[in-house]
Symmetry: C3
């Protein structure tokens, strides 16, 4: 049984094979998962991620039990995660879980009779986001994930998408990382082999192939303003790409959306394509 | 790409054609929308309307991503309407949107890559309600929408269903409107060509072919009581019909439900039939 | 039209026939309910029960309108239960209703144009839980429901699952009931023909074929602690079975889950199987 808990569970071979199929299928409708049932078990709401799985599962002919309201439900009334997982694994063929606590997806996998897909556990991992982030780079960088200058900006301390993407890209040759964050939100270990740290984005924009922008949440206490201006974004190399896991508040102006370097809406579409192939593999 | 934003977007030809097909199909199950995905994006809950679209889409073999909880979701955390629409249009083939603000459906249509259907935007429009209201009259008035005496009662100032229905009926010949409301909740412009205003329903009941009842919300500050009695309803002409967009509080007594003039439950069924045909047209 | 409102509506013949089919089909995917639409109308959330119906309906190819948030929805704004039922019965082919008030499922059945299935009404009935509880005994007791020593423990005064199960088992020959509860939460009438009452579980564990454990809710004011220990559970006869309608808080230690007598997760699976057959019968 294949659980998807961490980017560490995903070999390069597995990813390349999944991406090749995703780029070939492009979300095409089929009936491979007809009669299969997925549970979307979201302990904290995430409309984007739960809808992406919903769309992916439906494209392959499967059905989804949408549980987006665990905090209001009877499940919340003191039932253990293990009992909830045992319950839903008696009713469905796989479970996508989003939870507030780091490690909860792994706990779920210990008791589940069906595959568990981690859709974000606290400040832990979010491997399907990494699959789509990697796929985006794969698509726009000639199917390669090496020889890249990656600039990551925002809250690099708490952001699980950043942590997992660095883990993934550090597996490939000759990648250089620029970490741009307020000093109290610096990227923590494990640090990649080649990196540079700063709190000033202007130092590195020109030396960037991939700009990965994340949000700095107000409650983290940063006084830095990481709203990028059109001038700053225009100073990026012509062949660079700009990514964002969303939601976006004011990190990137809407005006930039039409720029050919803006790939954040492609990411969302790619998420559906990749999750569809992933579900087909996990459920077959 | 066909957006359904306002009753002004719906030509008489379009409506007649849709109604003719709806009356012929009567919600019949088919597979026309197999593999298609609709997003129900409800910024304020409306179980009746979202369920109607759900039922309609499902009848044609399609699937629905139900987002009925936007106010609790991550989407609510400061993301712009435009980003949410871009997101959902990357995952689905059409978007039904209910929003608290007038004009939001049109804003959505400006950025969406898939058709937008307005399911109510603030005190603006609710064109699919008008489609089913018009269909109800079409069905019970020999497929004609002319030569009618229409009495509208309730909060005529804020009710978007009233506004849109008057717009529609005013396109047809020789329709006369009776507006019955407290003075502070009077129907505002654009006024139709022939109308009469009063705050006393008893003046006009006998001269009514269609009685369209709406709710006066307490918070609007009216002291008027528009609960119709059985005696009042029985004074309507035998061939008249009584409509209500629902929910009903106490405007019409439950006792009247069995009267052959009561058509408000037909309206609900007709809503499913009409929306099914509409979705088939929008999505093909 | 077949409404499922009370265990009293379910004849032994009906139950045996349903169970025989359920044990034969075991939740097998089919297309019997293709094009059929079920409304899950939950006035109080119950993820377990609503998901079970969702899974059951989907296994037979049908669709579900999930209304799990009535308390937040426009339906909640003063609309009568009757109007809501009329509305949903114009859009769907059957309605599963969970409600806070005893008798509400029967009220729903008075106006509905489609079958009503009671999924719990206040402290009234929950007949589909009884179907699966009975099925569990049927499966693990050689397809018989007679000659049993049943020990029920917990809040026997308010628990609707206990009431309905006693009603069912009392129809069969030679069943003896042990009621174990704090004195203020004693099982009330109608009492079965043979029973024994105590507040001490240790008196009866050795004379138990079926141990049916329920939760004592704190707010009921009991000072008793009905957390069973491994020692207590191990003193049950080797051929006995332990059931629980869930959610479980601390009545049964997780350590016992692997014991072959623990059947509470089988109950959950059996719920899907039984509800699938039930839906097929109600909807055909």
């Amino acid at each position: 049984m294949l659980h998807i808990l961490s980017v560490d569970d995903l070999s390069n071979d597995f990813l390349y094979s999944l991406w090749q199929e995703a780029i070939f299928k492009k979300g095409l409708i089929n009936n491979k998962l007809k009669g299969k049932i997925l549970t979307n078990l979201f302990y904290e709401p995430s409309t984007r991620t739960s809808s992406s799985f919903y769309s992916a599962m439906t494209r392959s002919g499967g059905a989804v039990i949408p549980i987006n309201d665990v905090q209001f439900s009877s499940i919340a009334k003191g039932e253990s995660l293990e009992d909830t997982i045992m319950t839903m694994s008696a009713m469905s063929d796989a479970i996508v879980i989003r939870h507030t606590e780091n490690g909860s997806a792994r706990r779920a996998s210990m008791v589940s009779k069906v595959p568990i897909i981690n859709a974000g556990d606290g400040n832990g991992e979010h491997p399907t986001q990494t699959i789509l982030d990697g796929f985006t780079i794969y698509c726009f960088n000639n199917k390669k994930l090496s020889n890249l200058r990656i600039t990551l900006i925002g809250d690099l301390k708490n952001g699980r998408t950043v942590k997992s993407l660095v883990k993934l890209l550090n597996r490939f040759d000759n990648n250089h990382f620029n970490f741009v964050s307020p000093s109290q939100l610096k990227f923590s270990n494990p640090l990649p082999s080649k990196y540079y740290e700063t709190d000033n984005i202007d130092e590195v924009l020109k030396d960037t192939d991939i700009l990965y922008v994340t949000r700095v949440q107000k409650e983290r206490g940063s006084r830095h303003n990481y709203s990028l201006s059109m001038d700053q974004l225009n100073s990026l190399p012509k062949k660079s790409i700009v990514m964002h896991p969303f939601p976006r508040i004011n990190e990137i102006p809407q005006e930039f959306d039409k720029d050919s370097r803006a790939k954040y809406f492609d990411q969302i579409q790619f998420g559906v394509w990749c999750r569809q192939i992933l579900l087909e593999r996990v459920l077959s």
